[in-house]
């Protein structure tokens, strides 16, 4: 192996890398918050909505979970302008991430809701709580503890798969890597550095999530 690694030019571009990292974090966090709103609404519709709504939600979930994220991204970025919806790469990236996470998170939240014993809900009804109050206090809050690990790993999966939005040049970390690569021709070095940044991000976030769980959610189960 006669290759000489040259990381100098890659490290020199650290402001760009930092910016890309920030965009990736920001995209992932925003998409997660919005995706959770979608997912909570869908989970509600699936567990207590009318029959036709369940059908629509099921179709959405199955469609998203059985097609690649890349194809969904292409659909939002290339196909929707054909019917007049024109988006910037950043918006298209965000929308496809929200739509994607929404489907996966719906199933997670639904599983959490179904883990609540029926008796709890009946007790809520007996206390004359309104339906949304039961959903919020009797179902959602206790379910959060059960679904938290699955949700946080879904966040990390989303953050990693967001690297794909670089194909529409959405300014994220991988897009920055592609730019540096085309300017310096040190592709291997760039991708090593960026892969390490992603690894650091996912390790940091999973440590953070664990900390949050231990400080905020580790209340004892009432039995």
């Amino acid at each position: 192996m006669n290759y000489r690694f040259q990381f100098g030019q890659v490290f020199a571009a650290w402001p760009d890398l930092l910016h890309g990292t920030w965009i990736t974090i920001q995209l992932s966090l925003t998409a997660t918050v919005l995706g959770l709103v979608v997912a909570i609404a869908c989970a509600w519709g699936k567990t207590s909505g009318p029959g036709w709504l369940r059908l629509v939600i099921n179709a959405y979930i199955e469609l998203i979970r059985n097609t690649p994220f890349l194809v969904q991204l292409f659909f939002f970025f290339f196909a929707l302008p054909a019917i007049g919806l024109r988006w910037t790469p950043h918006t298209a990236a965000l929308v496809s991430m929200v739509v994607n996470l929404g489907a996966y998170a719906t199933e997670i939240i639904r599983a959490g809701i179904e883990s609540i014993p029926k008796g709890q809900i009946e007790a809520g009804l007996a206390l004359n709580l309104k339906r949304w109050e039961i959903f919020r206090f009797v179902i959602l809050k206790p379910a959060l503890k059960t679904i938290y690990p699955a949700l946080t790993s879904q966040f990390i999966l989303l953050m990693l798969s967001s690297s794909v939005v670089s194909v529409i040049s959405a300014d994220d970390l991988t897009s920055v890597a592609a730019n540096i690569q085309s300017q310096t021709f040190r592709s291997f070095e760039v991708y090593i550095v960026v892969t390490i940044i992603y690894l650091a991000l996912s390790l940091a976030f999973s440590a953070l999530f664990k900390l949050v769980f231990q400080t905020c959610l580790n209340y004892p189960d009432r039995r």
Binding site: N66, F69, V71, Q72, I156, V164, T174, Y191, T195
Partner: protein, 217 residues
Amino acid sequence: MRTFGWPELWFIVQAAKWTIALSAIAFAGGTAVGLLVALARTGGNAPLARGATVFTQIFQGTPLLLQLFLVFFGAPILGLEINPWAAAAVALTLNSGAFLGEIWRGCIQAVPRGQWEAAEALSLSYPWRMRSVILPQAFKIAVPPTVGYLVQIIKGTSLAAIIGFTEITRAGQIIDNATFQPLLVFGVVGAIYFALCWPLSLLAWRLEKRHARAMSR
């Protein structure tokens, strides 16, 4: 400009065979790597277990796309000729190996403790214990999540399009560039993936239900 007709549709459908071939290779390779990882992590040899854990963390903690890039751009540096086909196969194999290894580690550890102890009490050697007591039971637990993971592998092969391997997604891009009918083209591309993945998802779901029923008996 071409319009989207039967030949264009056929071109995309034809590309599905490359998606399937790549998925099959990734699954076969991933099975070999995953089995090694799962055995290393449950075998009780500390350095080996640590090595397998680090491998898993690296491949689960970084994007598949970047793994693909590293193999594609890294192999020539090691003096290896590589085409998109081989790069995709290697990256997908390592990635699936990490995920399958993690899934199967869970399945091996889900075999009741008493079974391990019984096998030890019979003073069976490690390979013997694994082959005739633990793995057959772990296998039953592992089937539903493994079938479910096949869907992830198929979806993952779409990334090979980015390094220029002509599978379904890349075929779609090519046709879109020629016809400028993205709504139709990417609709068709999505539909083909759905036709490949949905039956597997349903099968995984059914197997899981059956398994849960058997466990609750």
